[in-house]
């Protein structure tokens, strides 16, 4: 075994009063795919920013090929062979692929030369891209490929991938993992940052787990990976899952067990009925939803699967009344509560207090509004009760919503949604970016709501979540909605997701 290509040891980093990293470490060897696991807020991204020269650690050492280095900037880190692919894309949509790469890598060459150089680069990396395509027109998977090419443009030997599969379809995610593997086998090293256990086990040779900014576990993924690939060794796999989960959350594993699809009475009243629905894209160019018919009864949880951008977002928004219906029938029982995907621009106003955000969501029908007058003390009292009831961790009801963690923000949004006593809940990616415990809490609340007779419609980019939560699963592919057969397997649903027009 060769020595470590990148070693971070005893890294400390503090932001104001928050100790983000405490004795965090990571050892990456050439030829391996290394998963960096941890809950949201465990310090994964901070550690990667230290490794890529974006943040200077308060103390600790960075060794590259065994030599201590100080990385003062991302450029330093690239020079040392470390490339970071950010969780959020950093390409400029108006520029072409080649221009984006040149901008990032600092190439100053003439356009013709540039096209050749980019062509050579993508060929060498075996990551084909059209150099002349505008970044803004690329689908998500290619945009991410562009990010990877950018990171590797400076002859990187260590590739840091921050939550790379969140935006990808299952087959695309598999392809990404395969490419990561190929890069490692060619002598490089890949650090795969993720909070998905399954992905770490499938894709990585070794795993480092961070919890509350400290390294708590480092181990080989053992035989789990290969055996999982062959579809056997489930016992080994679940054992590994248990070990990793306990390391991540620091207590007895509380994995969200799938609940057997509960039986919804045939005669339960129908809460949502859409037929022949067409919905225009938000840009106004063409139809996002071309053909969708769906009925949801009281007490049912319907989960929509689909590759990002297949029309599921527009479908849900049209049903929620946020987007206009272009054609077709839409009958929805009110009140309806909508839980938007983007918590901090659509669900909440971060600078406003928790109370104010509750007042915003409940509108003029709330009990604290009387003939246009607003009784803030009543609103505040109720908000206090809500955050206690839903376990929202906050320093009071007057603090800005921005001070809450993502999980607590989502709990507040769900508490607010349920406060309307809705007949229907429509939720987009309700656990996006949340850690295991917060995800569990959100799932519980949605199931409880359904248990009380609320019709729940949601979509998730995480197929596992769709399968865990949905009593019925429908699949959106290129604007067309299809229903999966009851008990359909993961791969059957995956096939539907990739299906073409009918």
């Amino acid at each position: 075994m060769t020595g470590p290509i990148l070693e971070l040891s005893n890294i400390h980093k503090r932001f104001g009063t928050v100790q983000a990293l405490t004795a965090a470490g990571l050892v990456v060897r050439a030829g391996e795919v290394h998963a960096l696991l941890g809950e949201n807020g465990a310090g994964k991204t901070t550690l990667m920013h230290v490794a890529s020269g974006m943040l200077a650690p308060d103390s600790g050492e960075i060794l590259i090929d065994g030599v201590p280095r100080r990385l003062r900037s991302p450029r330093d880190a690239r020079g040392a062979g470390i490339g970071l692919v950010h969780q959020h894309f950093t390409s400029i949509p108006a520029l072409t692929v080649a221009e984006n790469i040149a901008l990032f890598a600092g190439w100053e060459v003439r356009p013709r030369e540039l096209a050749l150089r980019v062509g050579a680069l993508t060929q060498r990396l075996n990551l084909p891209l059209d150099p002349a395509a505008r970044a803004g027109t690329l689908p998500v998977a290619l945009l991410q490929r562009l990010e990877i090419v950018k990171a590797l443009a400076g002859d990187a030997r260590v590739l840091l991938l921050d939550e790379p599969t969140g935006v990808l379809a299952p087959s695309e995610a598999d392809e990404l993992l395969a490419r990561a593997r190929a890069f490692a086998e060619a002598g490089g090293a890949v650090v795969l940052i993720t909070h998905k256990l399954d992905e770490a086990l499938r894709g990585a040779d070794r795993v480092t787990v961070l919890r509350r900014g400290a390294m708590v576990l480092e181990r080989e993924t053992g035989d789990g990976r290969r055996e999982t690939e062959e579809g056997t060794g489930l016992g080994v796999r679940s054992q590994e899952l248990g070990v990793l989960t306990r390391a991540m959350i620091g207590e007895a594993s509380i994995l969200d067990e799938p609940v057997p699809a509960s039986f919804t009475a045939e005669d339960a009243p129908r809460r949502v009925h859409v037929a022949g629905l067409e919905v225009a894209r938000e840009s106004g160019l063409g139809m996002a939803v071309k053909q969708a018919s769906l009925g949801i009864r009281a007490g049912e949880i319907v989960a929509v699967a689909g590759i990002e951008g297949s029309g599921q977002r527009e479908l849900l928004r049209a049903i929620a009344g946020v987007l206009p219906v272009f054609r077709g029938t839409r009958e929805v029982t009110q009140p309806l509560a909508f839980i938007p995907e983007d918590r901090t621009t659509e669900g909440l106003i971060p600078e406003l207090s928790l109370t104010e955000n509750v007042v915003l969501g409940l509108g003029r029908s709330a009990s604290w509004v009387r003939r246009g007058r607003l009784d803030w003390s009543a609103a505040k009292r109720r908000t206090g009760e809500m955050i206690a009831e839903f376990g929202v961790r906050a320093a009071g009801t007057d603090v800005p919503a921005a001070t809450l963690s993502g999980g607590n923000q989502q709990k507040l949004i769900i508490a607010r949604a349920l406060e309307r006593l809705p007949a229907v809940i429509v939720a987009e990616n309700p656990t996006r970016g949340l850690d295991v415990q917060a995800t569990r809490a959100v799932h519980d609340r949605l199931r409880e709501a359904a248990g009380r007779g609320v019709a729940v419609l949601l979509y998730s980019n995480d197929l596992d979540e769709v399968m865990t939560l949905g009593q019925r699963i429908v699949v959106m592919a290129r604007g067309t909605l299809r229903e999966a057969t009851a008990g359909a397997s993961r791969s059957a649903i995956g096939e539907l997701m990739l299906a073409g027009p009918p």
Partner: protein
């Protein structure tokens, strides 16, 4: 509060340096300013407070807009629109009782301000034209309209001077005996209380604030007609400035003429920024800026420093306020990162 005082102090300090650098005695100049603004009951009421009235009204309007996320830079133009309308209606009310004439004059001025900003509001609603630009440009149109009016339809009866006839006594605001302070101060204070109440205690006030702070969440989560509410805030904002124009004609000048406003519409933006959107703060900061303007005249008379020098103090105050805000935001961000 501490920050505002420090900002204003910085403004005065730079002004003092400016005096010294231009060969004047800063102590004498600032002393003259102080006497001109606060030196006597008459100076305070008739100099400082009289100037504070239009500043207060326009700044309140600016704040209503800003809270809803619209930047009404056209206070000066709306002030003139209100002044024109008030003059026009006031001149027709010779035989009316004061109790009816004054409310009518003020209501017409209020409406004229709203009407003047209705064009930018409509442009924003219909075509998404930035109100920052459209309201600003309409200032020049309003000033030209005043020039046209005082040489045309509203010119005084002799047709010699570029100004209107004097308002009949019945349309003039009552004055505090022994001073030039007029009823406008009560109107301005009343408006401040009203704005405070609306934003503190009513749903519409909260909705406007939500539209200003998070227009997307206001639409998606609050289900609010964001653009309509923003346009409404713009109308109210213009109406306050129009009211200021009516109050100025009815309480101070009694006639329309060009340069009626020494830039109240712009100074009021500074007043609102210093007050950081607080209606109560606007009362204080309008008096402060009123004092600067009043003191400037005295300083020019007594020490011979050009009155425009006080704009240095206004500018430095505003820059200091904005810098202080920027730094405090940055500090917060570092902590939560």
């Amino acid at each position: 509060m501490k920050r505002q005082v420090a900002s204003f102090g910085a403004g005065l300090a730079v002004l003092a340096i400016f005096f010294a650098a231009s060969g004047h005695d800063p102590v004498a100049a600032l002393g003259a300013m102080y006497r001109g603004a606060f030196g006597s009951w008459y100076a305070f009421t008739s100099g400082t407070l009289v100037r504070a009235i239009p500043l207060m009204l326009i700044a309140l309007g600016f704040t209503v807009g800003l809270r809803a996320g619209v930047l009404n830079i056209g206070g000066e133009g709306q002030f003139y629109a209100g002044a024109i309308a008030a003059t026009w209606i006031g001149l027709k009310l010779g035989g009316w009782p004061t109790i009816a004439a004054i409310p009518l004059v003020l209501a017409v001025a209020f409406g004229a301000g709203a009407l003047w900003v209705a064009v930018p509001a409509w442009l924003r609603l219909r075509f998404g034209v930035l109100e920052v630009i459209s309201t600003l440009l309409l200032n020049f149109v309003a000033e030209a309209l005043v020039s046209f009016m005082v040489q045309g339809p509203l010119q005084e009866s002799q047709h010699i001077y570029p100004q209107s006839d004097q308002l009949p006594l019945s349309a003039r605001l009552p004055v505090l005996p022994g001073t030039r302070l007029h009823l406008g101060i009560m109107i301005a204070l009343g408006c401040a209380v009203l704005v405070w109440y609306v934003f503190r205690r009513t749903m519409i006030g909260f909705e406007l604030r939500a539209v200003g702070r998070g227009p997307i969440a206001a639409r998606v989560t609050g289900g609010l007609p964001v653009q309509r509410l923003a346009a409404m805030a713009l109308l109210v904002s213009g109406a306050f400035a129009g009211l200021a124009g009516g109050v100025e004609v009815g309480g101070v000048s009694y006639a329309l003429y060009p340069n009626l406003s020494p830039g109240y519409g712009f100074t009021a933006i500074a007043v609102a920024l210093l007050a950081r959107q607080s209606p109560v703060g606007i009362i204080a900061s309008a008096i402060l800026f009123g004092a600067l303007e009043a003191g400037a005249g005295a300083m020019q008379r007594d020490v011979g420093v050009p009155a425009v020098a006080v704009y240095v103090a206004e500018a430095v105050t505003i820059i200091a306020v904005l810098l202080a805000d920027t730094f405090s935001v940055r500090r917060r961000n570092v902590v939560t990162a």
